[in-house]
Symmetry: C2
Subunit: 421 residues, 2 copies
């Protein structure tokens, strides 16, 4: 079936009727935060559709999930509700359905141009976890931080390594990032450095958004894990490498990460990503049974990072990678996360870890691209070891379909100078 909407959608748009990603927005002219989906250059206000009684399926007609300031309630309802919402929205937006198409007052109320809204965090994030699932990234970081002998720790091939990050400092795309202050590794016998980070970096990541959670003490089976994942967003796990290198032994990254993490506003659902499923990598050694999946899915999502220095008109490509470089799948990550009984809650997110590919041009952060500042990147008009004040970093992600895209839009942030103490 070819889908077509009465809303005009450019062929290169990230948001055709095949996508319909979910976000939370506030009209610039005023009003409360509410859920929406992206369609072309518009945001479709789901609270307006819900109030008009257009979610008429058996699950959603009885729910106020679209009258909430976050997506948490919808996410907790699970895949049957999500499928019903997707079917209803594709019907309402389709070329040959008159309900919304021919109702000009409802259209005016519910279809808002994207430049007339402010996007907000889509969920209340109870906990944020960050994995470390790209083999190339693990190998490069291990070599840089710990040396070329055994750069990959022995546990890496047995379990998807992760740590808990800071939920409070997750911000929406477009939010400025203030350069953090902190302690850096001492040189020789000198005391530790203190001041604004001199090795500020981005990390190209994606994050999974949790749907229904689990009770404390009840692990989620890896073969049911997909039903607990609503979708994916782009993520930039900003990292201060000097702070991180000094603090991370033995309890892991802390202040080197917790000053800010940016996510993109649109959650692309696993249902919309299904046409872009590809094989997951062969895992050797064979994982333990609780990590073995009947069907092991990766997603073919092209990723690109650009940098736009202050004062320059154009941006330059820093790297191109793909979500399919990940060794551990999102469903394995989720099953591992809960195997000890840890409870997930709707709206929680977990990052993939930096997504580096095998080629030098596909590395996911400046630490790797410049080999910890030793080999500066020379781009069109700029040279960079690490990020400088005024630099804007823009991540995009997109799946290329047959005549259409399923895209993630952008995830961007600009570096502001450290504030005086």
């Amino acid at each position: 079936m070819v889908l077509k909407s009465f809303v005009e959608v450019h062929p290169d748009s990230h948001f055709p009727i095949e996508n319909l990603p979910y976000g939370v927005f506030k009209p610039l002219q005023g009003g409360e935060p509410r859920p929406g989906v992206a369609i072309g250059d518009y945001v479709l206000d789901l609270s307006a559709l819900s109030s008009a009684g257009l979610f008429d399926g058996p699950i959603l007609s009885k729910s106020d999930c679209f009258l909430q300031p976050s997506l948490n309630k919808l996410l907790g309802m699970g895949r049957p509700a999500w499928k019903e919402a997707r079917a209803t929205l594709q019907k309402l937006l389709s070329f040959d359905n008159p309900t919304l198409r021919d109702n000009s007052s409802l259209r005016a109320k519910s279809l808002l141009p994207m430049d007339k809204v402010q996007m907000l965090l889509p969920t209340v994030i109870g906990d944020y976890t960050d994995f470390f699932s790209s083999l190339h990234h693990a190998k490069n970081c291990g070599t840089i931080f710990r040396g070329p002998e055994n750069p990959i720790p022995p546990n890496w091939f047995h379990l998807p390594i992760a740590y808990h990050g800071r939920a409070s400092s997750i911000v929406i795309s477009g939010t400025d990032i203030i350069r953090p202050r902190g302690q850096g590794h001492p040189m020789g016998n000198s005391p530790p450095y203190f001041g604004p980070s001199q090795k500020l970096d981005f990390e190209l990541e994606m994050a999974a958004v949790v749907g229904p959670g689990n009770e404390l003490g009840k692990p989620i089976d890896v073969n049911e894990a997909a039903d607990h994942i609503f979708g994916l967003v782009l993520m930039n796990d900003w990292s201060a490498r000097d702070i991180q290198a000094w603090e991370y032994v033995p309890l892991g990254p802390f202040l080197g990460k917790s000053f800010g993490t940016t996510i993109s506003p649109w959650i692309v659902t696993l249902d919309a990503l299904e046409p872009f499923v590809c094989d997951a990598p062969k895992q050797e050694p064979h994982p333990l049974p609780y990590l073995v999946e009947k069907i092991s899915k990766n997603y073919d999502i092209s990723l690109e990072v650009q940098i736009k220095p202050a004062g320059l008109e154009h941006s330059s490509v820093l790297t191109r990678s793909n979500f399919n470089h990940l060794y551990w799948t999102v469903t394995q990550q989720l099953a591992h996360h809960t195997i000890n009984g840890c409870n997930l809650r709707p709206g929680d997110i977990f990052g993939s870890g930096t997504i580096s590919g095998p080629e030098p041009e596909s590395l996911g952060c400046l630490l790797e691209l410049t080999w910890n500042g030793q080999k500066p990147l020379v781009l069109d008009g700029v040279t960079r070891k690490f990020l400088e004040d005024g630099d804007e970093v823009i991540i995009t992600g997109c799946c290329k379909g047959n005549g259409y895209n399923v895209g993630f839009g952008t995830c961007s942030g600009k570096i502001l100078p450290a504030t005086p103490l």
Copy 2:
């Protein structure tokens, strides 16, 4: 001034009128969660007092902070509100004030026997951090996990090391803890162990509860940090040592901790703890300026851990320690936490790290007490390397005043067997 309440309080009670710790409870006979303070064997219902108009000070008379299901709103209001609440409550509870004493219907409504209520988590915890601030614990763990050469990492004396823990699995005292499953360190060339943890441990900790937070990007000065801390609770950071040892390189503890963390229900305020202030340890090397305090305070809080195995009538003392063993103060921890701009929110908590003293009988976990299971503890009728199913671990903490206590009550949890997969 000698304080005395019309509510009878035993001399050995943890909860005299000098204490007045805050919690959230639900009457067993029904009703919504609401704030209360402990007085003797009673809980004073603050929602009832508030509804009766008895918080008549300039700040609280205008606030609905006691009509909330958590303490977050009160915590966000800051020390002036807390001081006013404490003064109002000490007046209302005092022996010579007739307002509550002689109003039998209000007394019946607002003073509930502790055994007629269920205690709940006192705050909505946005983020949970765990520090590592006992020198003895750091030294012992370093020796056990990494060997006797340089057991203490070089950063330890320069900054209060910490990691982010799991907020979702923090539970209130009395909640059973299910033994976690997970991967344990392989022996030699064998594959990793998988199954119920064989090295389940407790960690004797206390945690600070955050009052007013800070904006992202705006650090809190160490000399103002005390105004951002409402009080302290007891904490048991349950730890699966086999899972932790295998997973923690390079990103820190994850599933070895995230299956459950228990806190005590009563937050003892810094104001109530003020008479028990003692000197903080001399710090050498001298910390960086952002960690230097005009007045550096520790608290003299006696701590004790008991174990009560299934089927035994009596419990045995596992260890005795004191909060004053900590090297880094809670105010230094908070200043460090925010120096990179990381934002704290009211109700967040941060743990002290395991509080081990210098003596063999003052170690704060079984890992240290039994030297990773190599020297089993022989107690009255039980021998333990690590925790067994049915074991109940009970932490108590108390400050001994002149004729009165300022106590924390207990923080307890019982180990249940791993559930079948």
